[in-house]
């Protein structure tokens, strides 16, 4: 059991957290023909946009209601109306998603009421999908914005199936958390299809941000799940939710359509995937394809080869709750000690992380803990690069954003194959670090050096939970 503590500082230094509205907008980006809008000043959108573009190296649709100081005082109805009309007329979207920001939430704007008025005033918008989510910047974090938006999409866009309608036994809904990459979604899709299942992903970032080159240039998303497909998700036989953040959406789906759900909190590691594949085998009535029996063997072998390097490592990890839970558990299962764990927001999974203490804080907290506890492996997003440089320990980039390396959208950590490759990557970082920084010297084993080493080891054992 980990205790969850909050950082007590007045000043956040090197934030780990990103804001809730862009997490919400991110969810809309997994819908086909979508245009997300942040209801706030221009900068709210511009910063978010730059962040997504640097991470995916893709064009990213994200608009703004461009609230000026005057509009903020007078109220944003006109801006919301104009933004919707401009986008509707110019970009021909299939859906417009609106997330609020700190500016408009401080005013307490009732955007749902705005939308109602706009629909009345402009009959062409009467049935057009307009989805609003309240996501103030001064509360919660990126992951919460995603969580709320997906739940809202289910509530608004999924049709209630008629009572006599039959469910399609081969069709499953997948509700992925925001910690999964387009590469992860493609891997999951392949696995599901290999069991003869037809998945509908909500949202489906693999359709929009996987880097494919569209035939036509469009301002909206270039792929993703269609509004029509979402409407029929009530006919699926199962919903698979990935990450504890997706419980809310899965429950919404269940209560609206009666589709049962199974929540997988983890998708990285041997046991979680055993559980996942056993479940797929059960619901599809098909044996596990031989391909996955082989992949399981390969993962087992990877674990054997890598445990020499990862075993005993003292991990410092900073990530949003679900990613933190998945990755730290996987490395714990490989023999690493989770010595410092920092996250952005509350979640029921935090106290089940295999460590003594989880801090809701920033990268300064992570860096200090890592230093104090002698950590020798760092995992966080790209903003950890300065800390990694100062700590001079191996640094694996995970989460969002990864802006200083390419291919972030295709990093895979789900499934046997994804876990296998992730383990190799991390083990190789450790090996490189040993080659560069820890070659034995004639003084490596002198008593003075040994004393400080053994003190560090004692600390680590005391702090890590078996």
């Amino acid at each position: 059991m980990a205790t969850v503590t909050m950082s007590k500082k007045a000043c956040a230094v090197n934030p780990l957290k990103m804001s809730q509205p862009i997490g919400g907008a991110f969810a809309f980006m997994g819908l086909r023909g979508a245009m997300p809008i942040l209801h706030g000043s221009q900068g709210c959108t511009s910063f978010g946009l730059t962040l997504f573009v640097r991470h995916f190296r893709e064009p990213v649709p994200l608009q703004t209601t461009a609230m000026s100081e005057v509009a903020t005082v007078l109220g944003g109805y006109d801006n919301v109306e104009q933004a919707i009309l401009n986008i509707y007329n110019r970009n021909k979207p299939e859906i417009i998603g609106i997330c609020s920001t700190g500016v408009t939430e401080t005013n307490g704007e009732d955007v749902d009421a705005f939308i109602k008025l706009i629909r009345e005033k402009h009959p062409q918008l009467a049935d057009f999908p307009l989805v609003y989510v309240s996501t103030p910047d001064f509360k919660d974090a990126f992951q919460d914005g995603w969580e709320k938006t997906v739940a809202r999409l289910v509530e608004v866009l999924v049709d209630v199936p008629p009572a006599e309608a039959e469910r399609d036994p081969a069709r499953v809904n997948v509700l992925p958390g925001c910690h999964l990459t387009p590469g992860d979604l493609d891997e999951l899709r392949t696995i599901l299809e290999d069991f003869g299942l037809t998945p509908s992903f909500l949202p489906d970032l693999a359709g929009s941000l996987d880097g494919h080159i569209p035939d036509e240039f469009t301002q909206t998303t270039i792929g993703g799940v269609g509004v029509d497909e979402i409407a029929t998700m009530g006919r699926s036989s199962w919903t698979i939710a990935i990450g504890a953040q997706m419980r809310q959406a899965a429950e919404a789906m269940h209560s609206k359509t009666g589709v049962p759900f199974r929540l997988f909190e983890r998708m990285c590691g041997l046991m979680p995937n055993d559980e996942f594949l056993a479940f797929l085998s059960e619901i599809s009535g098909q044996p596990v394809p031989s391909k996955y029996r082989r992949q399981r063997g390969q993962l087992a072998d990877a674990m054997l080869d890598a445990h020499f390097h990862i075993g005993g490592r003292k991990l410092a990890i900073g990530a949003e709750p679900d990613l933190l839970f998945d990755l730290s558990n996987m490395l714990h299962d490989m023999g690493a000690h989770v010595s410092a764990a920092v996250t952005t927001t509350h979640s029921p999974v935090l106290e089940r992380i295999k460590t003594n203490e989880v801090v809701i804080g920033d990268l300064e907290d992570l860096e200090e803990l890592a230093k104090r506890r002698g950590c020798d492996l760092l995992i966080t997003h790209s903003h950890g690069r300065q800390a990694a440089g100062r700590l001079n320990i191996p640094f694996h980039r995970a989460g969002f954003p990864v802006f200083d390396r390419i291919g972030a959208g295709h990093q895979v950590s789900v499934g046997y194959r994804g876990t296998r490759d992730l383990i190799f990557n991390i083990a190789n970082l450790v090996i490189t670090d040993r080659e560069v920084n820890h070659q034995p010297t004639p003084d490596s084993w002198r008593p003075s050096n040994l004393a400080s080493r053994s003190r560090r080891i004692a600390n680590a054992t005391e702090r890590s939970v078996a």
């Binding site: 230094v13 957290k17 900068g43 910063f47 640097r54 703004t64 103030p136 001064f138 300065q386």
Partner: protein
């Protein structure tokens, strides 16, 4: 906020800005930039602009007072370089919570300043105001004053909340803060007759260091750079410089002009983009310094350096001229002054088919006309779709722009080069222009373009029937309208602009079977011939699908 609106009005009245000087009183009141259109706007806010302008001060702690979005979503995202201190890259924010919004954030802000000074000991703290605390009435001026007195350290309020306007306005508001609180508050350790200020230079990718060796060689000292690789003490004592160069267009003209007014520091507006501009700027610096009392011989030495550097750069660029012959470039820039880049590219032998003038003044446009000729395609405001079309139609061979539009070019499988703030290469001065040309050459002649423009051999014809299993195929069969039209309009021969529909009709009505017959009937493959394999596939698949009678007749 009355003082902020007064400052804003001052900026709109800026006499040094030609654009403003030509406006009527009413127009000027409205401000510098058009009100952004909701749902169709791009670009940053005033806070973004202020941070861009000041963050390159390397020994200063930059504290953002606001909810997490303003700093959490944007920190450590610029490529300015530092020769020493690294505190500027550490991110500080009050990360305001709901409680702060309800009860006010001033206390948290004060404590944050205290924590920063205690832990990090910066030369100064810059506190940036954002929208939410501005709305709830947090007075950062008073907090900064109190903290400054208590901790005996400069704590400077930067009043540029995002919703007051654009990025450019934020640049100017940042300048106002420097003028009001920083410049002239300290004295330099010593002065020389060769001291200059560089204003509006941000040392992106370390580009300042492409110029500095030449200035060093001439004995010219950059007393203060605002703000690239800047130090607090340097800018605080920058009022003792003899002359100043205003580098980045109009973004900090208020600083240059007011320093001239207050401290009699003459300035000129110049750039180090391109050979001629670099030479002109060096000359101007030397002349201004001599006019302010530096020894006359500086001019001669400067000319010697210019002659040497120009010869070197020309020799390096000349090698590329034949390779660039007939190559056309499209230039879409924001902050970088268009005309200076235009000149630089022409030196390398590139033909410019268009340049954006969105942020240029009338004077700039005149210069572009001079440089590019009267028929220059000056683009006021280009939409991404138009840009894509220009590239797709091969009206340009390469696009040079800022990061935000890069995918327009890349997705059209067209070479692209980053010339804005986020660029990772430095392009200043004589060495920089050679580097730029080298990069353009690498981009233009990379073998990937040719491969990427080839469609996969198996799906030239049946692409649409495969790509969307969810029903597009079924749809195109039952309603031949949009999907079928899109399929038929697919360009097969790019040189002669022949689409798939034309080819299929020709094959069907004339019973064509060879590429040669197709060329005779439709002109397709009459250009570079790269589409031959595509046409062969179309022929093969139309043979399969057509009725045997037609087949017989054809054979």
């Amino acid at each position: 906020m009355s003082s902020l609106s007064a400052t804003l009005q001052d900026i709109f009245n800026e006499p040094g800005c030609a654009k403003n000087a030509n406006k009527s009183d009413v127009e000027r009141k409205k401000g510098c930039t058009k009100q952004p259109q909701p749902g169709a706007a791009a670009g940053g806010c005033a806070f973004d602009g202020a941070k861009i302008a000041l963050q390159p001060f390397t020994d200063v702690a930059h504290l953002i007072h606001g909810p997490i979005a303003c700093e959490g979503n944007s920190w450590d995202n610029r490529g300015a370089a530092s020769s020493g201190a690294s505190i500027w890259r550490t991110s500080f924010t009050t990360d305001m919570t709901e409680t702060d919004v309800v009860f006010g954030g001033e206390k948290r802000l004060y404590n944050a300043i205290k924590e920063i000074i205690g832990k990090y000991k910066p030369a100064a703290v810059f506190v940036y105001q954002t929208c939410v605390p501005a709305m709830i009435g947090d007075d950062i001026d008073i907090v900064c004053k109190a903290a400054s007195r208590k901790f005996r350290k400069p704590v400077i309020p930067i009043n540029a909340p995002g919703f007051v306007g654009s990025k450019n306005l934020g640049n100017k508001l940042a300048g106002e803060a420097l003028l009001e609180h920083v410049i002239g508050t300290e004295e330099p350790d010593y002065t020389t007759p060769y001291d200059i200020n560089m204003i509006g230079e941000y040392n992106l990718s370390g580009e300042l260091w492409q110029i500095k060796p030449l200035l060093d060689e001439l004995g010219i000292r950059i007393l203060s750079c605002i703000s690239g690789d800047g130090r607090y003490h340097e800018v605080a004592s920058s009022h003792r410089a003899r002359a100043a160069m205003l580098v980045c267009s109009k973004s900090m003209i208020n600083v240059a002009r007011r320093m001239e007014e207050r401290y009699c520091i003459p300035f000129f507006e110049g750039s180090f983009y391109g050979i001629q501009d670099s030479s002109a700027s060096l000359r101007e610096i030397a002349q201004l310094l001599v006019r302010r009392g530096a020894p006359e011989e500086l001019i001669g030495r400067t000319e010697a350096v210019i002659a040497r550097e120009e010869a070197r750069a020309w020799a390096a660029i000349r090698q590329y001229k034949p390779r660039f012959a007939g190559k056309r470039a499209l230039l879409i820039t924001g902050g970088v002054k268009s005309w200076s880049v235009v000149a630089a590219l022409q030196e390398a032998g590139l033909e410019l088919v268009g340049t954006s003038v969105k942020k240029s003044t009338e004077e700039d446009k005149e210069r572009i006309k001079e440089l590019m000729g009267l028929d220059a395609h000056m683009i006021e405001d280009i939409s991404a779709r138009e840009m894509y079309k220009m590239l797709k139609d091969a009206r340009a061979d390469i696009m040079l722009s800022g990061g935000k539009s890069q995918f327009v070019a890349l997705k059209a499988a067209m070479p692209w080069l980053d010339i804005n703030q986020e660029r990772s290469h430095a392009y200043l001065g004589y060495v920089g222009i050679v580097k730029l040309v080298e990069e353009i050459d690498k981009a233009l002649f990379n073998p990937i373009w040719e491969q990427l423009r080839q469609p996969a051999p198996w799906d030239t014809v049946c692409k649409n029937t495969h790509s969307d299993p969810m029903g597009q195929a079924a749809e195109s069969a039952s309603h031949p309208t949009p999907a079928e039209r899109a399929r038929r309009s697919k360009r097969i021969c790019f040189c002669k602009r022949v689409d798939l529909g034309t080819l299929e009709d020709a094959i069907r009505s004339h019973g064509l079977t060879t590429v040669r017959e197709i060329r005779q009937k439709t002109n397709a493959s009459g250009g570079c011939g790269a589409c031959k394999s595509r046409i062969r596939h179309i022929l093969a698949s139309s043979r399969e699908s057509s009725a045997p009678a037609v087949l017989d007749a054809a054979e």
